[in-house]
């Protein structure tokens, strides 16, 4: 049963359980009514389980105590997880799957000005691009990173902010139709994905080329994996942000281009592709 031990949360979070649990439940119920295609289901379950696994299992221990694994965790929380979830276009399925009262509450809340304004502001393309990139840099400021890694409350805020900003960004660029009234041309979508590349390259390269320890917290509190010294750990982390972070944009751009080509070729079925 040793494999089972790996699924035991390192630090329990009711919020993570409630959020992933209800999303999974609503999607399951919605699937029976909406019947989404297999690849949409695969994307949703892949994305959701990835986000859950990196934030609520023993893997979290390694993310707390090894810089490059922390970067992998954020790659999953900020890029790959939300990317896959958005690709499954889960909103109609989730809305159908949730209890009708909850759905009504959502519709009611969508009409409130106090909800509309912040949502519209967050879904503004410039804001979402700036938020997506700035959050990466912010949490990697050495003094901020130090505090986030010792204070469990800040650590959770960091991970949630990464996931939510990822969800907003990839939601805007990858959802086929308009999102919260924002209509984006394929060119704008590609522009947004190109815009997040330079900051990630700059921050990743800065971390990679720094010859002293930027994040001593991992040495102070101890590293999870032996045999990797502080600088090597830092350099691998830098490379992950530099290359893999930026690479997700390339995948996203391909998705948008593919969808456009399919729309031009088969206008009726193009929407279903990618």
């Amino acid at each position: 049963m040793e494999w089972f031990y790996w699924l035991v949360p390192w630090e329990e979070s009711t919020l993570v359980v409630a959020a992933t649990g209800s999303a999974a439940l609503f999607f399951l119920r919605g699937c029976a009514l909406v019947r989404p295609s297999l690849h949409r289901k695969l994307c949703f379950w892949g994305g959701l389980s990835l986000v859950y696994l990196v934030s609520h299992t023993q893997l979290d221990y390694y993310s707390e105590h090894q810089f490059f694994i922390h970067r992998l965790q954020h790659l999953a929380l900020h890029h790959l997880g939300p990317f896959l979830i958005v690709l499954s276009r889960p909103c109609p399925v989730l809305l159908r799957g949730m209890p009708s009262r909850m759905r009504q509450a959502f519709h009611l809340m969508a009409g409130w000005k106090s909800i509309q304004y912040p949502v519209q502001a967050l879904c503004n393309p410039v804001v979402s691009v700036v938020l997506f990139s700035t959050l990466i840099g912010f949490w990697l400021l050495p003094s901020i990173h130090f505090t986030a890694m010792i204070d469990w409350r800040l650590y959770r805020v960091m991970n949630w902010s990464m996931f939510l900003s990822g969800l907003i960004f990839w939601g805007l660029v990858l959802t086929p139709g308009p999102v919260v009234g924002v209509k984006l041309s394929p060119g704008s979508r590609i522009g947004m994905m190109l815009a997040i590349i330079p900051p990630q390259i700059v921050i990743g390269a800065l971390i990679f080329f720094t010859s002293h320890e930027l994040y001593p917290i991992y040495t102070i509190c101890g590293r999870a994996i032996g045999g990797i010294n502080a600088l090597a750990d830092q350099q691998i982390g830098g490379i992950i942000l530099w290359i893999h972070g930026a690479m997700m944009s390339a995948v996203g751009i391909l998705v948008v281009i593919l969808r456009e080509l399919m729309l031009a070729e088969y206008p009726k079925h193009g929407e279903k592709v990618a």
């Binding site: 700035t134 400021l141 984006l184 060119g187 522009g191 509190c221 101890g222």
Partner: protein, 203 residues
């Protein structure tokens, strides 16, 4: 096609500018305050534990109330970091002089299966140190304390081998009320440690 987002080209420049700001901020933040330990007040929880002392007595955080505490995670078979750290802390205590009576070192073992009270007592007597106590318990108890202070230790998967245990070099410093105040590392000088400890002692 409706209203398109026209600012995509501009946002590229915005991002580049934002990136540069971040880069500048990052390089500016490298220099930590010279001559002072890391301040952790409010970020780490108050001291709380229930373990066995090196005399075999059950002890809790309450036992040491009224003293400034220095907590270090180590193990007696450690050949490198632990002896150096304990020698450093011994010197800090000597630097404190008379004030040392109001400070205490807690040496928490991360190798509880091998480090019983006797082993800890023998180990600590090697150092010229009156104000130190070894603490041991079950792997789960030690694990809970290490997790509370974000020290790398997993009770069920100790990365075993002789002397192959990994642990951080942090010294967690608590004030007389048991609040976590400072985090010292092997990079901080003994003089700095002594100076900052004095500031925590009630006059």
């Amino acid at each position: 096609m409706g209203k398109n987002f026209a600012g995509s080209r501009n946002s590229g420049y915005n991002q580049l500018a934002a990136g540069l700001v971040i880069a500048l901020a990052m390089s500016a933040c490298n220099s930590t305050e010279q001559g002072h330990l890391k301040e952790v007040t409010g970020h780490l929880p108050d001291l709380s534990f229930s373990l066995s002392s090196d005399e075999g007595q059950p002890v809790t955080a309450k036992t040491y109330e009224g003293k400034v505490l220095l907590m270090y995670f180590g193990f007696t078979h450690c050949r490198e970091e632990c002896p150096i750290s304990m020698a450093r802390l011994t010197r800090v205590m000597h630097l404190l002089g008379e004030d040392a009576d109001r400070a205490h070192i807690l040496f928490v073992t991360v190798d509880p299966t091998r480090d019983g009270p006797g082993e800890l007592r023998r180990y600590l007597t090697q150092f010229d140190l009156e104000q130190a106590i070894g603490l041991t318990g079950t792997p789960d108890e030690i694990g809970a304390l290490a997790k509370r202070y974000r020290n790398a230790f997993r009770p069920h998967f100790p990365p075993g081998g002789d002397g192959g245990l990994m642990h951080g070099d942090a010294v967690y410093i608590f004030d007389t009320q048991g609040r976590a105040r400072l985090l010292a590392t092997s990079a901080d000088s003994e003089e700095t440690l002594a100076e900052d400890l004095r500031d925590l002692l009630p006059s």
